[in-house]
Symmetry: C2
Subunit: 259 residues, 2 copies
């Protein structure tokens, strides 16, 4: 790993030209201004920030606050580095969409270059697809007597998550959503109408989600559709909720909220 504190702009430019477009992780901390132009247009005045260029060319400019970067480029097709009067300019261009991020550094407090090794994959449980699978393996989590007919059934209106029949053999359209909103209701309604055209007769529509706001539930039921809740523990056997109720002895709370 290479790390230079308070590099001259020449040193920094040399390092950047050497490593920016290769599979290295490059970090530059310093005082900068950032412009973006593309799908929208943005301007960010001088401030101290952390620039991160990742090994797949992704570029992030993080300010001292917030989860999200102030500016970014998910994939850069071409970098440009120049030394201007009293500063260093880094431009990151991207095609499709055509966009450019320009970072003007006034001061650089340090710069590091490294190749990080990380082969491991992130394993996540609890996505929507896990709910689909849980339903297929265990249809009674929806309701007793349910029989799954088809998953990902294609219709003119799109794909139905789960298509089934209930204990009375009535067709059931199930829409699974982690975070349902009003549009989810419209979408389900659209599916039910579509299936109604195809199969005639009564069709039930069920929205399955971890939770549903009261207003959306009303909106749903006005349309003759139903809601069924699903718990994480039902779909992830090993799941245990986080218990924050008693705090440990050794923990300490941020003072961020105090000012």
């Amino acid at each position: 790993m290479e790390l230079i504190q308070n590099p001259s702009f020449e040193e920094a430019a040399e390092l950047l030209k050497e490593y920016l477009s290769r599979e290295y992780t490059v970090q530059v901390n310093g005082l900068c201004t950032v412009n973006y132009r593309g799908r929208a247009k943005s301007k960010l005045d001088r401030g101290e920030r952390i620039l991160l260029k990742k090994q797949d060319s992704a570029l992030l400019v993080h300010g001292p606050e917030n989860y999200q970067p102030k500016n970014w480029q998910p994939e850069v097709d071409s970098f440009k580095v120049e030394i201007e009067e009293e500063g260093l300019v880094l431009k990151a261009l991207r095609r499709n969409p055509d966009e450019v991020v320009e970072v003007f550094f006034d001061e650089i407090s340090f710069i590091t270059v490294d190749q990080l090794v990380d082969k491991s994959e992130l394993k996540i449980a609890g996505h929507e697809v896990d709910i689909h699978e849980a339903i297929e393996e265990n249809p009674e989590i929806v309701e007793d007597g349910l029989k799954v007919v088809e998953r990902e059934k294609e219709t003119d209106a799109g794909f139905i998550d789960v298509f089934a029949r209930d204990k009375d053999n009535v067709y059931v359209v199930i829409e699974v959503k982690r975070n349902p909103d009003y549009n989810t209701v419209l979408q389900l309604q659209r599916y039910v109408e579509e299936i109604d055209d195809e199969f005639q007769g009564d069709i039930r529509g069920i929205l399955m989600a971890p939770k549903l706001s009261e207003k959306i539930q009303d909106y749903l039921e006005e349309r003759g559709l139903e809601f069924v809740g699903v718990e994480m523990a039902q779909i992830i056997p090993s799941y245990e909720a986080v218990d924050n109720s008693q705090k440990g002895l050794s923990d300490f709370k941020p003072s961020h909220s105090l000012e």
Copy 2:
């Protein structure tokens, strides 16, 4: 700024306990394993990563690739740092939703602590609300003779972005969307039906967006609704598109794509 290369776990723990819960930006580069439990559950095996704790307590764990962090916590309510056998553990707990991120460090290549100063605000132009305003100021960007009646008009089906009358005095419901999809069409249709109930007579529905896929446009027109495109230059006077057509002499392309 404080920067320690290859700190001992004791040194690191001391620094973390001192600064994690205060308004400092803390960065730790090293080999770690990460677990998350909350709305879902995830496990990330050993790998070299960059941990960033921001001044508002936001926590990011970035791998060497991708725009998005591997794990994160947008707001941390309580940190915990412990030294275990041959390692250092950092836990970040959050309430609402109850979630915890645990980072187990096996090796730390460096750690920095700093207070970044960044008062400047990010100014972005080109959001949906900018399009609303552009329409209000310049109704002809929708079509000649249009008169805006009301913005954000409330109906039972939600808020209509722009409510207007055309040159023949026919009511027009305009839905503005930066990234329209099928649901946008349904939403617009709902609004038109709602307005139809209220005002009777012919009602036009217009979807205004930077672009619209052909299939969605068909879907829209099947329902008797219309599409009007909007250009960035129409809503941001100073906007100039990025011209990537000819590459500069001094730029250089990433080799990332080559392997």
